[in-house]
Symmetry: C2
Subunit: 173 residues, 2 copies
């Protein structure tokens, strides 16, 4: 393993000024194929998603176009359920819906794209579209950046440990 | 059948000024249960959706939370494919994604709610959320109102002819 500080980035999380969208941008020492696998393989996904100290259990996971998903994140006596459906799953793009079951009528439409930067690096673009600025801003102020940053740091660790197979030309793992 | 002019309404189609949403509002001589059935039963849905003169063939239809759908609308040599997934299907609310396959990366998040007005009448609220004002306005200017109005008129006819079963207390059919 090389210097891990090169992957200890924080995600850029931005509120779009025109539309109720959250934009997240994060670079990884990974190929697009590895990031795709990290977001679709149920065992891998459960190992990195969410903040430190939470255990994620996948209740339903069918990561293909027209499939659906549900998982529960737990710590001590706390449980948080999330669910949605996969509108499209293809190697460079995943479009899915997202609901936190604590607010069951709030639905976000999420679009992930994997931009190949070359040399085994990929930029993840994640867009969450809400139906109001109030809902978008409540999500932004919920502390979601902690889960985003800690989750992606776990994903960095899995990548650096060679736990995510892929056509990793140029990757250091 | 009673005077059909009472149901020959046109839908109110409005562009939201703040967010890239299209709001459609339309009253029907139907109960919420009948409107729910009209939007989830595959044989009924194919009989009314879309403009006059198009034939709708359902390719995939699993109208339940986490299910998915695809249909093809055809006239002469023209074919238009549409697909999406059902985020949530419950008696008063359907949330689903929507893509016209001619523009495969454009995805709308649609929310339908059925507001019981009493006396066997129900107000349909349909909201389509896009990720840009440009995309929303292109959809609005695509001639979609013709399909919306002609489709709902066909649904009126099915309701008036007693083709859609329901707990239709107060309905005239």
């Amino acid at each position: 393993m090389n210097d891990t500080t090169t992957t200890a980035a924080t995600a850029a999380i931005e509120a779009d000024p025109r539309v109720p969208i959250i934009h997240i941008t994060r670079d990884f020492a990974a190929t697009p194929a590895q990031l795709f696998r990290a977001h679709t393989d149920p065992e891998l996904f459960a190992r990195w998603v969410g903040p430190d100290g939470m255990t994620t259990t996948l209740d339903r996971w069918d990561a293909r176009t027209g499939g659906s998903w549900r998982y529960v994140a737990a710590r001590d006596d706390l449980e948080f359920g999330f669910h949605g459906c996969f509108h499209e799953v293809r190697p460079d793009r995943i479009v899915q819906t997202f609901t936190w079951e604590g607010e069951p009528d709030a639905v976000a439409l999420e679009t992930l794209t994997f931009e190949d930067l070359g040399d085994g690096r990929t930029r993840l673009h994640a867009q969450s579209l809400c139906d109001s600025f109030e809902g978008r801003d409540a999500f932004l102020h919920s502390g979601m950046e902690v889960g985003v940053d800690q989750g992606y740091a776990k994903l960095d660790t899995l990548l650096a440990a060679g736990q995510i197979a892929g056509t990793a030309a140029g990757a250091e793992a």
